[in-house]
């Protein structure tokens, strides 16, 4: 027995060696793997490591824990920590419930206006993070349209847990909705049908079949939103007020008190629960999913049409949607009003203002995002290709490294970039490069994720066919895999672009006099209480995003269109 085990070990070792030799014979592939590794380590792993190091050492580079001691005793760290956790738990739970109601209504009932509700639910993902916060200020704030003008409440205080939670739920529930919708759609509906044929009532089927089978999706949505809430910087910065949370504390330490070390440590402390949530989600919950993709069309669910179920759902969705529309409408409206709450006359003053003050920022945002997006999507697709289709040493590391910048809080990533790249040999702070790089790696996992998913659905023998016909790995990637991944590429590009355009926390420490971004401008306008200008910026940003969707669609379709020629 022992000798066969030994022989097995030895054989596997020689196999590893042969695989390695095979890799050496494919210099292109080897080169790609090495380059990807180098890039990932430099821009994904190193900044986080630097962040750790800078927290634990003093100026001379010696291990020094005074800094941590200071944070624990002299700041309101623990209060902020528990506040963040409480907020995350509450928002995670509520947003998941709302997302589930949405997803259930769309996938399991004969609800009128499904397409419309679907688009409205996704809207908050596509828009800049401040829009809802801004609208809440405009409608319910001290001089809010509803609170002051309609209800005549003076000095209504929106700053604190309640409205922060409401805004986060509104902006984060789409994630739960998309996740749970995907799950409900792929859940083998014949199980539910079986429940019905066995004589169970709708409620019984829902409680005993649909809900238990949805639990993994529920849990994963909860964890994702919990982490997102914790990492969120934009909304708390605007609305948290006295309710201190970690991301804002970190920011204030650095911007207000110029204390990079304390800020770093607080940012890192968000990382811990965030990473924990991601890890549980990735390695535990996702393995317990009941979703089975067989590639076979299973029976369709009998959609619920009973009025007593559909009508309440419809009303709930409609109210949510109207509320969302009210938010966006308010922001658009405000951008055209002279002075909100005082002078309601229509004017283009706000736009003139932002054109004068923010033209540079708009150009920069567009330019930097346009450079970052294709880089991020292409690198993402390449990594997806390597991870799904190739075997090499360190695959797991590559996968984790590519997710890292997405999983860590943006504020931590931003600080990490500052810590890592503000001295020689790689001095990037103040340049456009550092912003582009932050955008590329912050959005990288989107490309990796969408690319991997679409590659997994493509029969690998299509690529093998290309290889056996004599194509190398690069040729196969560009002329077979990439065109097949077209729609994934499109959604990857789109997603990356939107994220780049609307990112705040990761880039707020990276902007400079030379390179400024729209989102940072919006934040400073809100802080200076120039809400009209902030609204105009938001509208401009949304218009740019919508235009970009059209342009991207045009480019991707033109680039990889199926060409039919005549061969005469």
């Amino acid at each position: 027995m022992d000798s066969t085990v030994y022989a097995g070990k030895r054989r596997r070792k020689s196999e590893k060696r042969r695989e390695f030799l095979m890799l050496m014979k494919q210099p292109g592939l080897l080169f790609a793997i090495l380059v990807v590794f180098a890039i990932l380590i430099l821009f994904c792993v190193y900044p986080i490591v630097r962040l750790f190091i800078s927290c634990l050492t003093d100026k001379t580079g010696q291990l020094n824990l005074d800094n941590i001691n200071y944070v624990f005793t002299k700041t309101d760290f623990f209060k902020a920590f528990w506040n963040s956790i409480k907020l995350g738990l509450f928002v995670g739970l509520m947003a998941t419930v709302v997302g589930f109601i949405y997803a259930f209504a769309v996938t399991r009932t004969k609800l009128p206006g499904k397409k419309f509700f679907n688009i409205m639910a996704i809207l908050p993902i596509l828009s800049p993070p401040f829009v809802i916060s801004l609208a809440v200020m405009l409608l319910f704030g001290r001089s809010g349209l509803i609170t002051k003008n309609l209800l005549h409440i003076r000095g209504n205080n929106i700053y604190g847990f309640t409205w922060l939670a409401i805004v986060q739920i509104l902006s984060l529930f789409p994630l739960a909705y998309l996740n749970l919708k995907g799950m409900l759609e792929t859940l083998d509906s014949s199980v539910e049908n079986a429940g019905r044929t066995l004589g169970a009532s709708r409620l019984k089927v829902f409680l005993t079949v649909t809900l238990p089978l949805s639990l993994p999706g529920f849990l994963s949505s909860f964890l994702i939103i919990f982490a997102k809430s914790l990492c969120d910087f934009g909304n708390p910065q605007v609305l948290a007020g006295d309710y201190s949370v970690l991301s804002v504390s970190a920011y204030l330490q650095i911007v207000g008190l110029f204390d990079l070390k304390t800020g770093s440590f607080i940012a890192l402390s968000i990382l811990l629960p965030c990473m924990l949530a991601y890890l549980i989600q990735n390695y535990w919950v996702s393995k317990r999913s009941f979703v089975t993709v067989t590639g076979k069309a299973t029976g369709t669910v009998e959609l619920i049409s009973e009025k007593k179920i559909v009508i309440p759902l419809f009303v709930v969705l409609l109210l949510m949607t109207l509320f969302t529309l009210l938010m966006y409408g308010t922001v658009v409206y405000v951008s055209f009003v002279k002075t909100w709450g005082v002078d309601w006359s229509m004017t283009l003053d706000s736009y003139q203002f932002i054109l004068k003050r923010g033209a540079r920022a708009m150009q920069d945002t567009l330019l930097l995002s346009s450079v970052a997006t294709p880089l991020s999507a292409l690198l993402g697709m390449l990594i997806a290709f390597l991870l799904v289709r190739k075997n090499f040493f360190g695959k797991r590391l590559m996968s984790v490294a590519s997710i890292l910048p997405f999983a860590v809080p943006g504020i931590a990533l931003g600080i990490g970039y500052v810590a890592a790249f503000n001295t020689r040999p790689i001095q990037l702070t103040g340049t456009a490069v550092i912003i582009i790089v932050a955008m590329v790696f912050r959005t990288l996992s989107i490309g990796v994720e969408t690319g991997s998913n679409s590659l997994r659905q493509v029969d690998p023998s299509i690529e093998e066919a290309s290889i056996i016909l004599g194509a190398g790995n690069a040729k196969t990637f560009f002329s077979v895999s990439l065109p097949i991944m077209k729609s994934a590429l499109f959604s990857g590009l789109l997603n990356s672009f939107i994220r780049s355009m609307t990112s705040v926390s990761a880039v707020i420490f990276l902007v400079s006099v030379n390179w400024n971004l729209l989102t940072v401008n919006i934040l400073s306008e809100i802080e200076s209480n120039r809400l009209g200008a902030a609204s105009a910026y938001c509208v401009a940003l949304m218009v740019m995003v919508i235009l970009a969707v059209g342009v991207l669609e045009f480019i991707v379709n033109g680039l990889f269109a199926r060409r039919r020629r005549s061969y005469e």
Partner: protein, 372 residues
């Protein structure tokens, strides 16, 4: 190309002592042999089938020849070139995939031209070659269609055209017919064989379907659990299977335990079967001490008035070319196929007499359990 042209450039394939192991599931350091010291050779221009139940390692073997899998040890030669460590795109082999694996974003023409373009061939030459092969496959009119716009049989032809147009030294088939319905399947395998013969290309064909294997190959290699059980022509394997497993996999067979085995020597065995003493063929591996069974093919049971064995009809079913009777003979249930149609009047429960074609009976090493 003229009919029956022998490809003078054809080369053979030689596999020597090939081992491929995979880690066994749930066992640390345990391993499963997908190929356990396999050696075989394919002569130039020959069509060889790797046949066996699923999980026997035949596809793994094919993928090692293609270069998609690295053998754990051993050697693969194509012609006089050792290719074991050469990546698949440099091996000059062609392959037909189970799923056809046509490029969905390219037309039929571009699919076929793909390999030629990679060889940096001139445009006019590519056009001539593609047109010639599409003509040969009778699919020229679909040149500008996309794969999802043509039928399964046509996709099959495109896949074959794409695989042979580059004139690879070996053509590998990975169960290319398994997605077709029965009728088309039969037609396509005739076509495949015709084209393979016409092009004269050395081919290795993987299938778990015995009729595919029998219909198209010069030589059948029967595999099981990573090892080669038997090699030979379809006829040899059908008539003289090495053991009960092979016999049961290729064609139908009844297996009856003999009352006694008196002697086994020189490929002959002296036995007592169902109370009668007889001499039949025997596998070399049958010693008298081994538990052996007698293989009786259903078509070797003849219903005749002079038959020496008394039988009762348990059930009958009509299949057109033949009638299948399930018979009870001396306490054993034996299946019989009657191609004569002269016994159509027999009914369930009838008492009859039957004889065996003793030349075709064979004593084989038995299995503890059949796993088909």
């Amino acid at each position: 190309m003229s009919e029956g042209k022998k490809n003078l450039g054809a080369v053979g394939v030689e596999i020597r002592d090939l081992v491929k192991t995979f880690p066994a599931y749930g066992q640390k350091n345990g391993e499963v042999f997908a190929a356990n010291h396999v050696s075989l050779s394919v002569e130039p221009g020959e069509m060889v089938t790797l046949l066996g139940p699923s999980g026997c390692g035949k596809t793994t073997l094919l993928r090692m020849v293609a270069g998609f899998l690295m053998p754990s040890s051993g050697e693969i030669r194509i012609g006089d070139r050792e290719v074991t460590r050469i990546p698949p795109n440099k091996r000059n082999v062609g392959m037909m995939f189970q799923s056809y694996a046509l490029f969905p974003h390219m037309t039929v023409y571009d699919n076929v031209a793909y390999g030629l373009k990679l060889k940096h061939m001139g445009k006019p030459e590519i056009r001539d070659r593609v047109r010639a092969i599409l003509q040969l496959m009778q699919i020229e009119e679909y040149a500008s269609r996309f794969p999802n716009e043509i039928s399964g049989g046509q996709q099959q032809r495109v896949a074959l055209a794409r695989a042979v147009v580059t004139e690879p030294s070996v053509l590998l088939f990975d169960e290319p017919l398994s997605n077709l319905d029965a009728k088309l399947r039969e037609y396509m395998r005739e076509e495949l064989r015709k084209i393979q013969k016409r092009v004269g290309i050395t081919s290795l064909y993987v299938t778990h379907d015995q009729s595919d294997a029998m219909a198209i190959s010069d030589k059948v290699i029967f595999m099981r659990s990573g090892t080669i059980e038997q090699t030979g022509t379809a006829m040899e394997i059908y008539a003289r299977p090495r053991n009960q497993f092979v016999a049961g996999f290729i064609g139908k067979a009844n297996f009856v335990r003999p009352d006694a085995v008196h002697s086994v020597s020189g490929g002959q065995a002296e036995i007592t079967l169902l109370g009668r003493r007889m001499t039949i063929g025997a596998s070399e591996e049958c010693g008298s001490e081994k538990s052996c069974v007698v293989m009786i093919r259903p078509e070797d049971v003849k219903i005749s008035a002079e038959g020496a064995f008394r039988a009762r009809i348990l059930s009958k079913a009509y299949f057109g070319q033949y009638i299948r009777h399930s018979l009870e003979i001396g306490g054993c249930e034996i299946e019989q196929m009657d191609f004569t149609q002269s016994n159509a009047a027999l009914q369930e429960g009838d008492e009859i007499t039957v004889s065996f074609v003793t030349d075709s009976l064979r004593l084989l090493p038995g299995e503890d359990k059949m796993e088909i």
